[in-house]
Each structure stands twice: as structure tokens, then as C-alpha cells.
């Protein structure tokens, strides 16, 4: 769902506000998806996502374009907030405990899809936290490899290699179980 009309569209925002609102509109759902993958709790993910946007709003003046894109900067803020939440809770939620996403489309062959989904979810559950994070950043948030590297704090080459390794792990797991 796209973000609703803001001050920018009403013509009353400052340039800084307009830039933030544009970032918000393009990143809200992606950020939520990424944070949910980290904290694995919808309620906590909502709080952390809102907190991340609040911090980005307050610290907008600190953004340095020489250090990366605005999206990677925002996702870096969200990452820290999510990890702080994990530290506070000090527990790992199992993926199987997450409620089913009722907005997902329902394919025609529900039995086959259900089996494949379970296989995939099982494979994802076997990934470690860092590997799940890479999957979330690439597939849920749509970040480029360079942006992923900036968020996680590794080199571009390292990010690509780790991502490839993780995807291969999922492919093997899905092919073995299928």
C-alpha cells in the first residue's frame, strides 16, 4: 500500500521534509518487511519500523551522501533499532509461530504451493541470522548489492559472495526436499 498524500503534495513542505517524505513513501513497506524478518514479531516490527522512521526524520541533517544512498542510510538505522529490540527481548521467535500473511495471493494448486511454501520456510528457518538478513534485504526490501553492503557493513564483493552462497543454500534445500 502506498503512503498517502503528504505535505509535499499539498505544497507546504520544506525541501528536507519533502526528501524525507519521498523516502518514506518509497521505503515504508520494504522497511517493514525487512524489520519483520529480523525481529520475527509483527507487533515489535511495527514499533521498530516507526522508530526507525522517527529517528531518520530527526537525524535527516546527518545524512552524508558520500557514505551511501538515502535508502541504505535508512535501512542502517532500522537495522540498529531491530538489533536493539532483539537485545531487549533476548529470544529468537520461530518462523513457524508467525501468523499467516492473509494478503498473499492464493495460487490455483493450493496443495502443491503449500508443500513448496513449507519446504521454503523450513529452509529459511535453517539459515542463521545474518543469512536471513541478506535474504530480507535482497528479496523483501529490494536493495542492491552495494546498498546491502552499506547496511551490513561489509564490502560489495563480500556482500555479493555471501548472498550467492545463501541463495545456493536455499536452492539446494528446496531441490532436496522437493
Amino acid at each position: 500500500m502506498a503512503a498517502t498524500a503528504t505535505d509535499t503534495e499539498r505544497g507546504s513542505a520544506t525541501p528536507q521534509q519533502a526528501a524525507f517524505e519521498a523516502l518514506y513513501r518509497s521505503s515504508r513497506d520494504d522497511l517493514y518487511s525487512y524489520v519483520t524478518s529480523l525481529v520475527r514479531d509483527r507487533s515489535a516490527a511495527e514499533d521498530v519500523t516507526a522508530l526507525a522512521f522517527e529517528r531518520a526524520y530527526r537525524k535527516a541533517h546527518r545524512f552524508d551522501p558520500t557514505r551511501g544512498t538515502r535508502r541504505s542510510w535508512l535501512f542502517g538505522i532500522a537495522r540498529n533499532a531491530a538489533l536493539d529490540e532483539l537485545r531487549r527481548r533476548r529470544r529468537a521467535a520461530e518462523l513457524v509461530d508467525e501468523p499467516v500473511d492473509e494478503q498473499a495471493t492464493v495460487p490455483a494448486d493450493e496443495a502443491e504451493l503449500s508443500l513448496r511454501r513449507q519446504v521454503l520456510r523450513g529452509a529459511i528457518a535453517e539459515l542463521d541470522g545474518r543469512e536471513r538478513e541478506l535474504i530480507a534485504l535482497k528479496f523483501f526490501a529490494g536493495l542492491s548489492n552495494a546498498e546491502i553492503a552499506e547496511v551490513v557493513g561489509i564490502s560489495d564483493s563480500n556482500a555479493g559472495t555471501k548472498l550467492h552462497r545463501t541463495i545456493e543454500k536455499l536452492r539446494r534445500a528446496c531441490n532436496e526436499r522437493a
Partner: protein, 407 residues
């Protein structure tokens, strides 16, 4: 901060697969042999969590309002999570401000304790030196302070070796001991005045000394009209009992550049010289008595020779006693008077040079405060920076451990 590469760089195959992945994520067609990757992309995309519409709507409103209304739904919980923790930067600035205030207070206290410009130095019992403080009317060393050196025994020393009955040491009460002390006192005084007033000040100084019963031992006056400079040097001798009063009057003549007083206790040499003189006289008396009883001419001649030697000895010891008595009885004052074109007139005005001197003193004080403040602040800032770095590093490590613990 980027971690160093601990994996091998991406191979061409990896690069090809990643490019294929990006193409699939952008909605492109899979390359031959990549159908399973395309399927994986579709299924992972379908697993993407989506936000609750109501929550999303509330967040939209919060963004529109600039996050000014935190107590609405999820944003209400957000306000509790934010807390009151100040940013590191605010803490650093606050710490620096506190450090600066502490530094200023400490520096001011240090300067007050050491004494600022123009504050008289502390005196010791042997000598007093006073810096110039302003007009001729103010003397940094008050008469009462100088009087401590005199002790009431500086002058009026008797020339009769038998007059000093009290023993300066031992069992004599403290008051009697102080009264019977003998001191050799002298002073050096420097006065500053206008060039054309040097001669007048010199003449008035001589008048003061003569009225106190003193004498001018030596005087020199130098005047250089072309350079508008003049100076005078006077070597004065005044009764020790009049020294304090004389110095008081002399310091009133012009601006005091410096005043140094010294006192040496000569009680022991005085008493010793007196005793030795008395012993010599006693010996002569004994010899004269023996001479009167002498029967033999040879004995009489011998005694006469001894009497002669005794008289010579008495003369030497009398001279020595007189010298020591003179040192206790009178005090030497070296007076120098210097004149300059600007002059040190005591007319109550504040000249440009005085203003410049005062401004310089203020700048020196300010520089001292800043220097001491920096000496306190810099280590605090270094400590704060180290603490901030350690905190940031520790927090980063803990966050990464939280991610590892989320397996």
C-alpha cells in the same frame, strides 16, 4: 564501517548469477537453466511480510505531522521506546561545557591564590621586596610591616660596652630579648617620576634624611635634556630608629618602583665584641695592679711591655666594637630616582601607557585562564572521546551478537 574481506572475491560465475537474480527481481525472463532460481525468487517474494493497513495509516499520519503526536496507537508505544536518552553528541557537548566551567573556576582560584598583577609579594623575616603598584601615595609595604624588621632594637644602641646588661639568649624573657636585639638594616628604594621633577624629588629626599638625623654619604644627579631623561642616586645613612619613618616619607615623594629592605641580626657579634673589649680592659687593669706591686726591675719592665700590648689590644677591640655599634645604630638607604618623558605624575589621571599596561595585564590573565582551562579541558575531552568510542564499539559488538543469537 566496513569489515575487511574475509571471503574470496566474487568469481565470474557468481557475478553472472547475481546479475541473473537482479534481472529476475526486476521482472525479467529467466535465462536457460535458471528456472529454479526464478521459482525461488517468486516464492521468496510471496513470503514477503506486508504491513497492517491500519498501522500503516497511523504511521502515514505521524509522518505528515512530523511525529508530533506520539500517543496514538503504535506511535504511542514509540514515545515510550524513545525514552530520554541523550545523544552522544549532546553528552559530549555537555561534558565539554561543564569541563570549561570547571576549568575557568579552577584557573581563577589558582590566580587568586598566587596573586594577580600588582598584588604585593609576601614578605619574609629577612627581606621585603615590593613591586610598583601605582601612584606615589600608595606604598605596598606599610609602615607596620617594615617595623617588624626593626623590632624596636634597631637604633639607640649604647656605646658603653657595660650598658647592655641583659643576656640576649638563655633565660631572659622574650620581650627583653627582642628589645636588646641588634640589627644591621639597610634598604634599596627606587622612585619613578617625570624627568623634570627628578632634581626636586632628590632635594626633598635629602631634606627628609637630614631632618631625621641622617646624612647623605654620596649623591649623583644625571640629566640628559636631549633625550628628556634624568636620574639621581643617593646613598643615605639614617639612624636605625628613624629608618621606618624616613622610608615612609621617601615613598611619598614619587611612584615607588621597588623597595627592598634587609635586616641582619648582629646581636651575637655585638655582645662578643663587647665582652672581648671588657676582657682586654680587665687584663690591663690586672697588669697595672701587678706593675704596682712589682719589686724587681726586670719584672716591672716585663709588666710594662705587657701593659703596652694590652693597650694595643684594647684599641683594636674598641675599634671593632665601635664598628659593630655603628652598624646597629645607623642604616644605609640606597635611593635611586629615575625620570621618564611620560612621567609618573600623581595627578589621578589614567594615561594611555597605564591603560595599555592594564590592558596587557588583563590579556595576560585571560591567556592564563584559557591555558589552564585547556590543560583541564583537553584531558577531559580525550577521556570523553575514548569513552564515546568504547561505547560505540561495545554497542556495535552487542548488536552483531544479538543478530547471531537470533538463529
Amino acid at each position: 564501517m566496513r569489515e575487511p574481506d574475509d571471503d574470496a572475491p566474487a568469481t565470474p560465475e557468481i557475478e553472472r548469477d547475481l546479475d541473473q537474480l537482479d534481472r529476475l527481481l526486476a521482472g525479467g525472463e529467466p535465462a536457460p537453466g535458471s528456472e529454479d532460481l526464478a521459482l525461488l525468487v517468486d516464492e521468496l517474494s510471496a513470503e514477503r511480510p506486508t504491513p497492517d493497513p491500519e498501522w500503516a495509516s497511523q504511521l502515514d499520519e505521524g509522518v505528515r505531522d512530523g511525529f508530533d503526536r506520539p500517543d496514538r496507537g503504535a506511535l504511542g508505544r514509540l514515545g515510550a521506546r524513545l525514552g530520554a536518552r541523550a545523544s552522544l553528541r549532546s553528552l559530549a557537548f555537555g561534558g565539554a561545557a561543564v569541563g570549561l566551567v570547571v576549568a575557568v573556576v579552577v584557573a581563577t582560584a589558582v590566580i587568586q591564590l598566587d596573586g594577580g598583577p600588582g598584588t604585593p609579594e609576601s614578605s619574609d623575616t629577612a627581606a621585603q621586596t615590593t613591586e610598583a603598584t601605582g601612584d606615589a601615595g600608595s606604598s605596598a609595604a606599610a609602615p607596620g610591616e617594615r617595623g617588624g624588621l626593626g623590632g624596636g632594637a634597631g637604633g639607640g644602641a649604647s656605646q658603653n660596652p657595660n650598658a647592655l646588661e641583659a643576656d640576649p639568649g638563655g633565660s631572659t624573657p622574650l620581650a627583653n630579648r627582642a628589645a636588646n636585639r641588634k640589627q644591621d638594616r639597610d634598604a634599596q628604594l627606587e622612585l619613578q617620576t617625570a624627568t623634570d621633577e627628578v632634581r626636586g624629588v632628590s632635594d626633598r629626599a635629602i631634606g627628609i634624611v637630614e631632618s631625621s638625623g641622617g646624612v647623605v654619604v654620596e649623591s649623583t644627579l644625571s640629566e640628559q635634556r636631549r633625550r628628556d631623561q634624568a636620574s639621581a642616586r643617593l646613598r643615605l645613612e639614617v639612624p636605625s630608629s628613624e629608618l621606618d619613618g624616613t622610608l615612609d616619607q621617601l615613598t611619598d615623594l614619587a611612584t615607588v618602583g621597588s623597595l627592598t629592605e634587609a635586616a641582619t641580626d648582629i646581636t651575637e657579634p655585638f655582645v662578643s665584641a663587647r665582652r672581648r673589649l671588657a676582657d682586654a680592659r680587665d687584663e690591663r687593669r690586672s697588669l697595672l695592679q701587678a706593675l704596682g706591686r712589682a719589686d724587681d726591675g726586670d719584672e716591672a719592665d716585663s709588666l710594662r711591655r705587657q701593659v703596652k700590648r694590652a693597650r694595643r689590644q684594647i684599641a683594636r677591640r674598641e675599634a671593632r666594637f665601635q664598628r659593630i655599634s655603628q652598624r646597629a645604630r645607623t642604616s644605609q638607604v640606597d635611593l635611586s630616582i629615575s625620570g621618564s618623558p611620560a612621567g609618573e605624575r600623581d595627578d589621578g589621571s589614567w594615561s594611555l601607557s597605564e591603560a595599555a599596561d592594564d590592558a596587557l595585564a588583563i590579556l595576560r590573565t585571560a591567556a592564563g585562564v584559557l591555558l589552564v582551562g585547556a590543560a583541564v579541558l583537553v584531558p577531559l575531552a580525550v577521556l570523553a572521546a575514548i569513552a564515546a568510542f568504547a561505547y560505540a564499539w561495545s554497542r556495535s559488538r552487542l548488536r552483531e551478537r544479538a543478530l547471531d543469537g537470533a538463529d
